[in-house]
């Protein structure tokens, strides 16, 4: 067996890992809402007590 076949198999395995990650993401609902998460991350954790002027 040539090393090329091993490399080919390894590359498919790695690509397969990314495919599983993608399917996992879809299943988790990552693609259901494309607005909330990018905005949510910008919010401050602590809520300011008074409105700033």
């Amino acid at each position: 067996m040539s090393i090329i076949i091993l490399i080919a198999a390894a590359s498919i395995l790695i690509a397969g890992g990314f495919l599983i990650a993608f399917i996992w993401g879809v299943k988790d609902g990552q693609f259901d809402d494309d607005y909330s998460p990018p905005n949510r991350i910008l919010f401050d954790d602590t809520i300011k007590s008074k409105i700033k002027k």
Binding site: M1, S2, I4, I5, A8, A9, S11, I12, A15, G16, F18, L19, F22, I23, V26, K27, F31, D32, D33, D34, Y35, S36, N39, R40, L42, F43, D44, I47, K48, S49, K50, I51, K52, K53
Partner: protein, 805 residues
């Protein structure tokens, strides 16, 4: 800093909702509000230290001018109803999801996810912005569903709760399934391509035999999920078409995919070639992406609302001497129900208490509310404008007028239109099959059996109309995207094609050409002194007639004159002695004792007489939509136009003038008559009809017409079932939208011609039996990608040309 500058400027905008509040502003601390509602929301947020809401976006709030009745959500204490709304409960904690159409910015998102600061009983809140839903978990001990809903309402996010939500099933699976398929086919496509490279570049047998055959097995294994999983929908729809004797575009595609697969399988196993599996999986990948682009769904907009979604979920019914909330479908004949101001009447009933002033504009198209006396019947779908009333039910929900309207046959038949790409694909496939058979016969007559099979199968592979499918899906997908950015939402990509074939446009009047809530009042006659105005206002205040109220609002005075011997002549007018003057207000006959002359009948006219002088006449006219005349002018030259109105013909002259002499205007039309008129246009005159309407009274006509567009003041509003929803503000651009849909069809045709060119190149090799996998592997992605780019670019350009972004 900026905020305080702005308030100092001449135009004052509400700190909460950003609406102009010059005339009646309420100052609080250093901020201004347009109404007490907005101020109250601000105070709640300020108290709960949630003012970040105002930092994230400027004036993020929703105007609170219409107050929600305090006990509106009393029905949520009824366990039977709440059980239908709750998604899960274990007795301690309850999960519930609400549809909040008001959600529009990151401030909304932030506030709704921090709502536990206001109501301590809420454990967590998570927002799905795309679906405009909030998933709330709350503690049963410290709060209740009703209180959660009231908390949301208090900060301006009143959840939309309707019967349809209760019986609605969630459809989430579809779009996810497609994403899985795209992921899998993309993965297989890329890897098969990579595995094929050694073969393509090993000219002269450089590739070692074992390596080559090992790679072949990799390729075969990778192609299996593409054929059996990713491409399954093409086979399923093709089979459905065959069963219904309908040749759709999926049939030749499924055929080509199957032939490609089996021929490649034979080549790879027998070692006679390297097959076309990379091309096959590439085609499947691109077609699936195309369908994803095209089938974008507006999850937050509903096109299929039936009468149920317009009804309240529960009404107050008199049971054992007290009004308790009861689910609408549980109402029975002879129940006494209570309807509050601005509520929809869900059943046909007889008025038993109070004065009803019913706005039927949504059901019948009448623009002026109808005053109904005790003992008279009110119909389901009307909206009570005045104070609370009590009604005795005469028909159950399932029997009422409105429901019957919905049970007409048009609503049961789905529209069947054969799209142009299906027709084209039919000819395309037939021609290619003919070429295939000819080539095969030629090679057979030459005695070259191997070459014959070679030519026949490769021709069938090339015959796949996938480029045609790609050009239509990507063009339609981009058109839908551009239209939705311009607030015109179509239910299905096929509507674009139907829209491009329109040659007759029918408009509804009330609410479509006119703005439903606004009327224009003008006074013709002598100049009214201040004193006279106060006297007129004083008399009008006594009357509950809708026209009196409109004029009273127009005068905008608070009179305190004493009124002596007031008399109300039903259907005629009112009179009284005020400040020692005899005042008469009403119809021409009542005021002037004369028969109506022609000039007096334009619009609704109300005459005024003080002592013996007829001072003049108030004319109440519908307020036509902004840009109305311009739209009609631009459409007049290209389409036949008609107006159907449920209203009276008071404005016939004006409308005829604007619409042109050729246009047909029909007034006093019942919903059934509107439907029949559309059928007449379609069957007798062979027209392709576009109907533009807004209310339930247009529902039948919208459904019957080739394209039915519902006009909505806000897309969250209720609209009848339709093919598309157009934001009312975009109405002036109707002509551009139709022109854009037309150019979309041209783009599909142009890219189709291009795809035929590619096919001719492919066929050139195929008929000779020399279509090598390498040529296929180059031809396929170039043709697909170039078609995607060209359709995208051209539809983008066509949009810009029409002034759409």
């Amino acid at each position: 800093m900026e905020q305080s500058n702005q308030t100092a400027q001449q135009t004052t905008t509400c700190f909460h909702c950003g609406e102009n509040c010059n005339d009646k502003k309420i100052a609080h601390e250093d901020k201004f509000f347009c109404c007490t509602g907005c101020k109250m929301v601000y105070e709640i947020l300020n108290q709960s230290e949630l003012c970040t809401y105002y930092d994230l976006n400027q004036n993020p709030g929703i105007a609170q001018k219409i107050k929600v009745r305090e006990d509106k959500f009393e029905f949520l204490d009824n366990v039977e109803i709440t059980q239908k709304l709750i998604s899960f409960t274990d007795g301690k904690q309850t999960q519930v999801s609400f549809y909040l159409p008001q959600m529009h910015c990151s401030s909304c998102l932030w506030l709704l996810e921090n709502i536990q600061k206001i109501n301590k009983g809420i454990i967590s809140s998570r927002v799905n912005f795309t679906q405009k839903e909030a998933f709330i978990v709350f503690d049963n001990k410290s709060t209740s569903l009703r209180k959660v809903v009231e908390t949301l309402t208090a900060i301006g996010y009143e959840p939309h709760i309707s019967l349809q939500d209760v019986s609605k099933e969630k459809l989430k699976g579809g779009s996810r399934e497609r994403l899985y398929k795209i992921g899998v086919s993309g993965f297989c496509f890329a890897n098969i391509m990579m595995m094929s490279f050694p073969e393509y570049f090993s000219i002269g047998g450089y590739l070692e035999k074992e390596i080559g055959s090992a790679l072949h097995y990799f390729i075969i294994v990778l192609s299996l999920p593409v054929l059996f999983y990713c491409a399954s929908e093409f086979f399923v729809t093709a089979w459905k078409g065959v069963k219904n004797n309908f040749l759709n575009i999926d049939l030749p595609i499924a055929l080509a995919i199957a032939i490609t697969f089996f021929r490649s399988l034979y080549e790879l196993i027998s070692g006679t070639g390297s097959g076309y599996l990379d091309s096959m999986s590439g085609i499947v990948f691109f077609m699936l992406v195309g369908r994803l682009v095209q089938d974008r769904t507006y999850r937050s907009i509903s096109f299929d609302r039936d009468f149920k979604s317009f009804f309240p979920i529960a009404v107050n019914v008199l049971r054992d001497g007290a009004f308790i909330p009861v689910a609408v479908e549980k109402i029975t004949i002879n129940d006494v129900i209570q309807i509050h101001a601005n509520e929809l009447i869900p059943v046909d009933a007889i008025l038993s208490k109070g004065t009803a002033e019913i706005d039927y504009s949504f059901v019948s198209g009448e623009s002026i509310p109808v005053a109904t006396g005790i003992g008279e019947i009110v119909y389901a779908g009307g909206k009570q404008l005045g104070a609370n009333i009590e009604l005795i039910v005469v028909k159950e929900v399932s029997q009422s007028y409105l429901t019957n309207l919905w049970n007409k046959d048009v609503f049961k038949n789905e529209k069947q239109s054969v799209s142009v790409i299906h027709k084209l694909s039919k000819y395309f496939t037939a021609i290619v099959l003919l070429i295939g058979v000819t080539a095969a016969l030629y090679w057979l007559s030459q005695g070259q059996t191997l070459l014959m099979w070679n030519a026949l199968t490769t021709i069938l592979i090339v015959a796949c109309p996938c480029a045609l499918l790609l050009s239509s899906t990507f063009t339609n997908g981009n058109i839908l995207r551009i239209l939705s950015k311009n607030k015109f939402y179509l239910r299905h990509p096929d509507v674009i094609e139907d829209l491009s074939k329109i040659n007759h446009i029918v408009f509804d009047k009330t609410g479509t050409l006119t703005q439903s809530k606004k009327v224009k009042v003008s006074f013709e006659g002598v100049f009214l002194s201040n004193e006279q105005q106060y006297i007129i206002a004083a008399l009008l205040e006594q009357s509950s007639h809708p026209l009196s109220k409109i004029i009273f609002q127009y005068l905008d005075l608070t009179p305190n004159e004493e009124i002596v011997s007031f008399r109300n002549v039903t259907g005629q007018g009112i009179e009284a002695w005020i400040s020692d003057k005899h005042v008469k207000i009403g119809s021409a006959k009542f005021v002037k004792n004369s028969s109506i002359t022609s000039s007096d009948s334009a619009g609704s006219s109300v005459f005024v007489k003080i002592d013996n002088d007829v001072l003049g006449v108030f004319r109440i006219k519908n307020n036509y939509r902004f840009g109305f005349a311009e739209v009609i002018k631009s459409l007049k030259s290209k389409f036949n136009l008609s107006v159907l109105s449920g209203d009276n013909d008071a404005e016939a002259n004006y409308l005829q003038e604007v619409m042109g002499v050729d246009s047909e205007l029909l007034f006093n039309q019942h919903p059934e008559e509107k439907l029949e008129y559309i059928q007449y246009l379609q069957n007798t005159k062979r027209r392709n009809v576009l109907m533009v309407g807004d209310g339930l009274n247009d529902a039948g006509a919208l459904k019957q017409s080739n394209v039915g567009i519902a006009l909505a003041e806000s897309t969250n509003n209720f609209t009848p079932a339709s093919d598309g929803i157009l934001d009312a503000g975009q109405f002036p651009r109707l002509n551009q939208f139709i022109a854009f849909a037309k150019s979309g069809q041209h783009i599909i045709m142009a890219s189709f011609v291009l795809s035929i060119l590619y096919n001719i190149i492919g066929l050139y090799f195929a008929v000779q039996g020399t279509l090598s996998p390498l040529i296929a592997a180059i031809l396929m992605p170039t043709s697909s990608l170039s078609i995607i780019l060209i359709t995208y670019g051209m539809s983008e350009y066509a949009g810009r040309k029409q002034g759409l972004q």
